[in-house]
C-alpha cells in the first residue's frame, strides 16, 4: 500500500468491479466464433463455383440453380414438408390439451407419471428411439410409407410443443378466467374468449418448435423411413456419402436458413409475449 502522496486522481478506466473477470469477454467472443464460423464456412462454400466442394474458386449461384433442377431433392423436400405439416399440428394439439390438463387440471392420480411421460422422448437418446421404432414397425408389419415417419415424428414433437405452451399457461393469471366468470361467462365461454386468445402465442410458438424439430430430424427418420419416404436430411446424408459437392452445401444452407428463420420468428414472438403478454 502506498503512503500519502501528492494529489493523485484515480482513473476510472483502471477500476474493475469484483464480478468483472478480465479476459472473459474475449473468451466469449471466441466461443461465439467457434459456434458460428463453421456455419458461415458452410454457407460461403455453397457459393463456390468450383466443382470440388472444398477448393474455392469463384462466387457462383450455380449450385442453387442446380438444386432447382434436382427432382430428387424436390420430392425429399416435399416429403419433409408433408411430414412436418402433419406431425407438428397433431403434436401441437395433443400438447395443448396435455398442457391444459397439467397446468389447470389440478391434482390427479398419475400426474407425476404423465409429467415423466411427456418428457420421455427428450430423455431417451435418439438412436435408441430410432431403432426401437424401427423394430416396432417391422415386427408389427406396419408399412405405411410416409405415415410411419409421421407417426414417429409426432411422438417426439409433443414435448417440444408442450414446453412453450406450458410456460405460457403458467404465466397466465388464472384470475382472468375467474374474472370472466364473474362477468357472466360460463366455463366454455371463459375458455374461448379469455384463455384461448391469451394462449395463442404460446401455441404458435409450440407449433413452430415442433415444426423445426420435425424438419431437422435425421436419425429417427433415417432408420424408420422406407424407400420413397426420403426426407431432406436423409437425402442430404446420402449425398454426403456419395461424394461431396457444393450442391450439398447449397441444400444444407437452405435447410439452415429455414430453421434459423423459424426459430427467429419464435423468439420474436416469445419476447413480445414476455413484454406484453399475460398481465398479472
Amino acid at each position: 500500500m502506498t503512503k500519502t502522496s501528492p494529489i493523485k486522481v484515480a482513473s476510472p478506466s483502471r477500476f474493475r468491479p469484483v464480478w468483472d473477470f478480465p479476459g472473459f469477454s474475449g473468451l466469449t467472443i471466441g466461443f461465439f466464433a467457434f459456434l458460428y464460423v463453421p456455419i458461415l464456412v458452410l454457407v460461403a462454400y455453397s457459393f463456390n463455383g468450383s466443382k470440388f466442394a472444398m477448393v474455392w474458386s469463384e462466387f457462383s449461384w450455380r449450385w442453387y440453380i442446380k438444386l432447382l433442377e434436382n427432382d430428387d431433392i424436390h420430392s425429399a423436400a416435399v416429403n419433409s414438408l408433408i411430414v412436418a405439416f402433419t406431425a407438428a399440428p397433431i403434436a401441437t394439439i395433443m400438447a395443448t390439451l396435455a398442457a391444459l390438463v397439467m397446468v389447470r387440471g389440478g391434482e390427479f392420480r398419475g400426474r407425476d407419471f404423465t409429467a415423466g411421460l411427456i418428457t420421455l422422448p427428450l430423455m431417451v437418446p435418439e438412436i435408441v428411439t430410432a431403432v426401437a421404432t424401427l423394430i416396432f414397425f417391422a415386427l408389427l408389419n406396419i408399412n405405411l410409407g410416409l405415415i410411419n415417419v409421421i407417426l414417429a415424428h409426432t411422438v417426439f414433437c409433443i414435448p417440444f410443443a408442450y414446453m412453450p405452451i406450458k410456460a405460457a399457461l403458467e404465466a397466465m393469471d388464472p384470475g382472468l378466467e375467474v374474472a370472466a366468470q364473474d362477468l357472466y361467462a360460463d366455463y366454455w365461454q371463459a375458455f374461448y374468449h379469455v384463455t384461448l386468445p391469451l394462449l395463442t402465442p404460446g401455441i404458435i410458438s409450440g407449433f413452430m418448435l415442433a415444426f423445426v424439430i420435425s424438419i431437422d430430424d435425421f436419425i429417427i427418420t433415417l432408420m424408420v423411413a422406407g424407400a420413397g419416404s426420403t426426407t431432406l436430411p436423409v437425402y442430404i446424408y446420402s449425398m454426403i456419402r456419395t461424394g461431396v459437392t457444393p450442391e450439398v452445401n447449397a441444400v444444407s444452407t437452405l435447410l439452415l436458413a429455414v430453421s434459423i428463420v423459424l426459430v427467429s420468428i419464435y423468439w420474436l414472438l416469445s419476447s413480445a409475449n414476455r413484454k406484453g403478454g399475460a398481465m398479472g
Binding site: 500500500m1 502506498t2 503512503k3 500519502t4 502522496s5 494529489i7 493523485k8 486522481v9 484515480a10 476510472p12 483502471r14 477500476f15 474493475r16 468491479p17 469484483v18
Partner: protein
C-alpha cells in the same frame, strides 16, 4: 475518543456515465472519520451514502479524490486488499457454507493457521452469541440470526474499519431496537471504527458518536447527535432530523445580539454574530419547544414570540400529543407532553408561544 483519523475522504467525486447521461452521485465530499468511533452516514434514498460506503469498501471506483485509511491511500486498491470488511444489507451469507465456514472465510483467505482460525471464529461467534448455531446453514436461520452471522463474519478478520450497509433494515421493530444496543456495545468492546449507513434518523441518533447527514451527493453536516438535532446547519438537516418549524425572518438590527422580525409577526432577540441588517434567515423551532395555550397573547418582550393560530389537527400519540396549527399562511407543528397538554380541539383559536431559547438561526 482518539483524534487519530481512521478514514480520510478527501475531495471525493463519483460520476456515473459520461457526457449527456452523466450522473454525479458524490460531489466533492470531504469527511474525516476518527479511530474507534461509531459514525453514521445518514440521508434519504439516493443521497449517496451507500455509494460512499461502497467506495470505501472498494466495490465502486472513484472518479477523483483520495481515500486514505490510516495513512495509506486505498482508492486504487481492489476490495480484497483493503483491511476493511462489510456487513451487507441483505447479509450476502454464502448459502453453501455453514455458519462456522462463513465466519472462517476471510481468515482462510488470509491464510491464517488452522489454530488461529478456530480460536478467532469461536471468539467472534461467542461475541455475537452464535456459537450454538455454528454448524447450521444460512437458510435454516431467522433474519436476526443471519444478521449476526454477517456481523461475526465481517469482524473475524479484525478489520481496521467495519462498514455496515443498513444492516438492520430487514428486521422487525423490536429486533431492530435490540440490535441497536448490541451494535453500539460491540463497537465499544472491539474498539474498531464502525461506519454505519442508514436512512432511519432515530437509529442514527441512538447509536452514533457522530453523524454525517448527506443529501444529493454531499455532506450537509457532520456532528454529534445533539449538535445535529439542536443546531442543524441548514434547512435540509433541520427538516430531515425530527420535525421542524421553519420561520422566515429578517434581521432588523445587527450585532452580537440581533433583532429579527418574523414574517408571521413578532420579533425575537437572539445571539447571532455575523448577520447584517436586512439579511433573510430561517428561524427553526422544534415542535416540542413550542407552547400552545388558550387565551390571549401576553405582551411581547423579545424573549418569545406570541402568534395567534387555529388548531387544524390533533393526534394523540401516547406519550405526546401532536398539534397542527394554522398560523397566517403557514402550518406550524407543536408537540406537547400528554400530561401537561390542554384539551385543545380542532377549530379552536389558540396562542402559540415560541421562546427564544427554543430557536435556532439558520442561514441557508
Amino acid at each position: 475518543m482518539d483524534n487519530k483519523v481512521a478514514v480520510d475522504i478527501a475531495n471525493v467525486t463519483k460520476v456515473y456515465g459520461s457526457g449527456q447521461n452523466a450522473v454525479t452521485a458524490i460531489k466533492d465530499v470531504n469527511l474525516q472519520i476518527y479511530d474507534n468511533e461509531f459514525l453514521t452516514l445518514l440521508g434519504p434514498s439516493g443521497c449517496g451514502k451507500t455509494t460512499l460506503l461502497r467506495m470505501i469498501a472498494g466495490f465502486e471506483g472513484i472518479t477523483s479524490g483520495r481515500i486514505i485509511l490510516f495513512e495509506d491511500e486505498i482508492e486504487s486498491l481492489p476490495p480484497n486488499q483493503r483491511p476493511v470488511n462489510t456487513v451487507f444489507q441483505h447479509y450476502a451469507l454464502f448459502p453453501h457454507l455453514t455458519v462456522y465456514e462463513n465466519v472462517a472465510f476471510g481468515l482462510r483467505r488470509q491464510q491464517k493457521s488452522a489454530a488461529e482460525i478456530d480460536a478467532r471464529c469461536r471468539e467472534v461467534l461467542a461475541l455475537t452469541q452464535m456459537e450454538a448455531l455454528a454448524d447450521r446453514k444460512p437458510s435454516q436461520m431467522s433474519g436476526g440470526q443471519q444478521q449476526r452471522v454477517a456481523l461475526a463474519r465481517a469482524l473475524a478478520p479484525t478489520p481496521k474499519v467495519l462498514l455496515l450497509d443498513e444492516p438492520l433494515s430487514a428486521l422487525d421493530l423490536k429486533l431492530r431496537q435490540a440490535m441497536r444496543e448490541e451494535l453500539k456495545q460491540l463497537q465499544q468492546k472491539t474498539g474498531i471504527t464502525f461506519i454505519f449507513v442508514t436512512h432511519d434518523q432515530e437509529e442514527a441518533l441512538a447509536m452514533s458518536d457522530r453523524i454525517a447527514v448527506m443529501s444529493e451527493g454531499q455532506v450537509q453536516q457532520t456532528g454529534t447527535p445533539e449538535t445535529i438535532y439542536e443546531r442543524p446547519a441548514n434547512r435540509f438537516v433541520a427538516n430531515f432530523i425530527g420535525e421542524a418549524n421553519l420561520l422566515a425572518a429578517t434581521c432588523k438590527k445587527a450585532g452580537q445580539t440581533a433583532w429579527f422580525d418574523l414574517a408571521l409577526g413578532g420579533s425575537l432577540q437572539a445571539d447571532a454574530a455575523g448577520i447584517s441588517v436586512g439579511d433573510k434567515v430561517t428561524i427553526m423551532v422544534r415542535p416540542e419547544r413550542v407552547r400552545v395555550h388558550h387565551g390571549k397573547a401576553k405582551a411581547a418582550d423579545g424573549n418569545n414570540v406570541q402568534l395567534a393560530a387555529t388548531v387544524t389537527d390533533r393526534m394523540y400519540l401516547g406519550s405526546v400529543v401532536h398539534f397542527d396549527l394554522a398560523c397566517g399562511n403557514q402550518m406550524l407543528k407543536a408537540c406537547i407532553r400528554s400530561e401537561t397538554h390542554q384539551q385543545l380541539a380542532p377549530g379552536e383559536t389558540v396562542t402559540v408561544d415560541i421562546p427564544v431559547d427554543g430557536c435556532r438561526i439558520i442561514q441557508a
